[in-house]
């Protein structure tokens, strides 16, 4: 279940920033785009606080801020204050007269104002960029991004890897992220985590992949903060508009080549002098971000699930079929449609390979067909019976729980048995006791204690 934990750790930007060292975060505050992204991640109440004190250049007593919310919502207040403090957006200071106060980080304050009101420098030198002779439309960019991203996912799923479709850097990142590992033939092959990765939605995949990639950039001689700031700037760019590459140093040019490989930006040639951000890069850090790369061949919403456990997948993409096939038995295949059925066996097979029921359900939800979303309840387009049954099948596997324990048996008398059993019960370590067989099972942690008691008891009685 590795990826679930890893994924939870860096699921949101806030959690990711917590894993970074102080100086990286401090560097990030130097970029307006990064400040904007961090601001967007704050809880709503916290955003309100920050905006209210954005123009106050001095510390504010904590007591004053706490009066900004009504009495009934003290809990929300402390949560918001906590969220701001953990990101070090404000610092605790002692004011005159010993009052505890908060003061916004001056770098953050300055750069958030730059993002909001202007000033400072632009992040690309594209003001004087002339018209692109062959401009790319949004549709072109979507196609390109999808093609690049699918190439990577394909590479993950393929049995016989042809390493010409993706670059060495991509493979390196995939291996670093634990999505692939070297098998005995020294060829990369997919891991359990890799399968779980495939079931995530595209936005989460991109974010996870980029986070893992960023972990490796230091080795390549790039600064994490600089790369992150570039990504944030990129994520606030406008789709379908070109930006100039002029003025970027060599190491950032190299970073851009990597992003180009992953499909986050489009460049016609390496020396084109301009690049376009794609949909994959937009709102990268946003929590409830949904990327829909809809093209004619590839639809995001393509699955219909019926209450009779039948599943219809309107697609002919091999990748999507491979994903659906992980937990479905296929019955028929037509040019644009595949009919399958969800059975206990097919689900159990998926569960055995480390996929959780929640992941299957979220995958189905994510790819639910437009018609299903329209007719059913908005937050739950799937038939409830199927969802419940998938959960039940998962729970079936969790009927046994394992505890370290010690068995006591062959008591000489029923009296001895009772004394030990009562003692174990009192100290709360008794797991099982059978009067007929005179056996007791206690937790491993309580074994020493019970043993001592028994020695003392037998000494006293003899």
């Amino acid at each position: 279940m590795g990826i679930l934990q890893h994924f939870a750790e860096c699921k949101s930007l806030v959690d990711y920033l917590k894993t970074l060292s102080n100086h990286v975060v401090d560097d990030l505050f130097g970029y307006p785009a990064a400040c904007l992204a961090i601001f967007r991640e704050l809880p709503k109440l916290a955003q309100n606080y920050v905006l209210r004190i954005l123009y106050v250049e001095q510390a504010i007593p904590q007591a004053v801020i706490s009066t900004w919310v009504s009495k009934a919502h003290v809990k929300e207040h402390s949560e918001a204050a906590e969220a701001i403090s953990t990101l070090r957006v404000w610092k605790e200071v002692t004011m005159q007269g010993g009052l505890a106060g908060w003061m916004l980080d001056h770098k953050f304050r300055h750069n958030l104002k730059v993002a909001l009101l202007g000033g400072g420098k632009q992040w690309t030198k594209s003001t004087n960029l002339d018209q692109d002779s062959k401009p790319r439309t949004v549709k072109d960019l979507d196609l390109y991004a999808l093609e690049r991203w699918e190439a990577m996912l394909h590479f993950l799923t393929e049995k016989q890897q042809k390493s010409d479709t993706v670059s060495k850097d991509t493979i390196m990142t995939l291996t670093h992220a634990g999505l692939m590992e070297q098998d005995e033939n020294n060829a990369p092959s997919i891991t359990n985590e890799g399968f779980q990765f495939l079931l995530l939605d595209t936005a989460s995949q991109v974010w996870y992949f980029i986070v893992k990639y960023l972990e490796t950039v230091e080795q390549r001689g790039l600064s994490t903060a600089e790369c992150l700031a570039f990504l944030f700037s990129l994520s606030f760019a406008t789709l379908g508009r070109d930006y100039g590459t002029e003025g970027f140093e060599d190491n950032m040019q190299q970073f851009m080549q990597h992003l180009r490989e992953f499909g986050l930006i489009y460049q016609r040639t390496r020396k084109a002098g301009r690049f376009y951000p794609t949909r994959l890069a937009l709102n990268l850090a946003s929590r409830n971000n949904k990327i829909s790369l809809d093209t004619e061949k590839h639809k995001t919403g393509f699955i219909v699930v019926e209450t009779n456990y039948r599943l219809y997948a309107y697609t002919d993409s091999d990748l999507q079929l491979a994903l659906v096939g992980m937990f479905t038995d296929f019955l028929f295949r037509f040019p644009n449609l595949v009919v399958g059925v969800i059975t206990r066996d097919s689900i159990r097979q998926a569960l055995r390979s480390g996929i959780s029921a929640e992941q299957i359900i979220s995958f189905l939800k994510m790819h639910a067909h437009y018609e299903m979303i329209k007719t059913a309840h908005i937050n739950n387009p799937l038939p409830p019976t199927v969802v419940d049954q998938i959960r039940l099948w998962e729970m079936e596997r969790n009927r046994l729980t394992f505890t370290d324990s010690v068995l006591y048996n062959q008591f000489l008398s029923h009296r001895d048995y009772e004394v030990v059993r009562d003692y174990a019960q009192e100290t709360g370590v008794l797991l099982h006791g059978s009067d007929q067989k005179r056996t007791i099972v206690v937790k491993g942690s309580g074994h020493d204690d019970v043993k001592r008691f028994w020695k003392r008891h037998s000494k006293n009685s003899s």
């Binding site: 919310v69 993002a115 202007g118 003001t127 406008t238 937050n379």
Partner: protein
């Protein structure tokens, strides 16, 4: 699964007859600056937030932002000139340039001369029609939603004109349709007490506020009007002003304390 977004429509009064504009015209630009920053702050909260700015003038109202793309007209893309986020820059530039047009135009400058006064004698702002436009805009945006999307809309009116009771009927129509659509109407009044707007805010569940200090407008906007409806419940906001619920007489357009209601058409006399 559900994607929520907030649409904020700001109706800004650009009528030069407003009292605070007449006393010091610089204040008007200060007020525009504050409103622009406020709109950008709204866009800053969430990536999915949307904003729209409508200018309300004598006998006309115009949508200043977003600029609709018309066929055949290609807009020149606005490039970043400094560290400001592109979307913010776009909003600011388009609103500023169009307000400039208003200021330069005849209707604005000729106010002091007697020329326009005699033509109609009407200096009141078309707030009701601007609000109507805002509601139409909201309605259109709601229709454009795809399944699984939700739009929370609200309207903020920033105005300093003394309202005319001549628009009483249109105001009431707007308020009740807003209530039906679930749209909140907030009023930030920079002039004397506005009876109708305070009624509208009360009907739709919005906030009516008269900032005592106009140069500090931005701080009031950020504090009171920026939080969305769900967040407002948690905040300690200024207490609501008692609402004057007097109706306007249908024949003379004056607010009356006591009147007669026609049992057939419900008009008051």
């Amino acid at each position: 699964m559900e994607v929520e977004s907030n649409l904020l429509i700001v109706v800004i009064d650009v009528n030069p007859a407003q009292k605070y504009v007449r006393s010091d015209s610089k204040q008007f630009f200060n007020c525009v600056d504050s409103v622009l920053t406020f709109c950008n702050a709204h866009l800053m909260l969430q990536a999915s937030n949307k904003a729209c700015v409508i200018a309300s003038h004598i006998n006309q109202s115009h949508i200043l932002y977003p600029i609709e793309e018309r066929e055949g007209v290609t807009l020149k893309p606005i490039r970043q000139v400094d560290g400001q986020y592109e979307v913010f820059l776009e909003l600011e530039k388009s609103v500023r340039s169009q307000i400039k047009k208003f200021v330069m135009s005849d209707a604005f400058t000729s106010f002091d001369s007697t020329r326009s006064a005699d033509s109609s004698g009407n200096f009141t702002t078309c707030l009701a029609s601007a609000l109507g436009k805002a509601l139409c805009y909201i309605n259109r945006k709601e229709r454009e939603l795809t399944a699984g999307e939700k739009l929370n809309s609200r309207i903020l009116v920033v105005s300093g004109s003394s309202e005319s009771t001549a628009q009483y009927m249109s105001f009431m129509n707007v308020f009740f349709s807003a209530q039906k659509l679930g749209v909140i109407i907030d009023a930030c009044v920079l002039g004397p007490y506005a009876t109708l707007l305070s009624q509208g805010a009360d009907i739709t569940g919005g906030i009516y506020l008269r900032p005592p200090h106009i140069p500090g407008l931005l701080q009031y906007l950020l504090w009171v009007f920026l939080p969305e409806a769900s967040l407002r419940k948690q905040l300690a906001l200024p207490p609501p002003v008692p609402v004057d619920y007097r109706a306007a007489c249908f024949c003379h357009r004056q607010l009356i304390d006591m009147g007669y209601v026609c049992s057939v058409c419900l008009s008051s006399k």
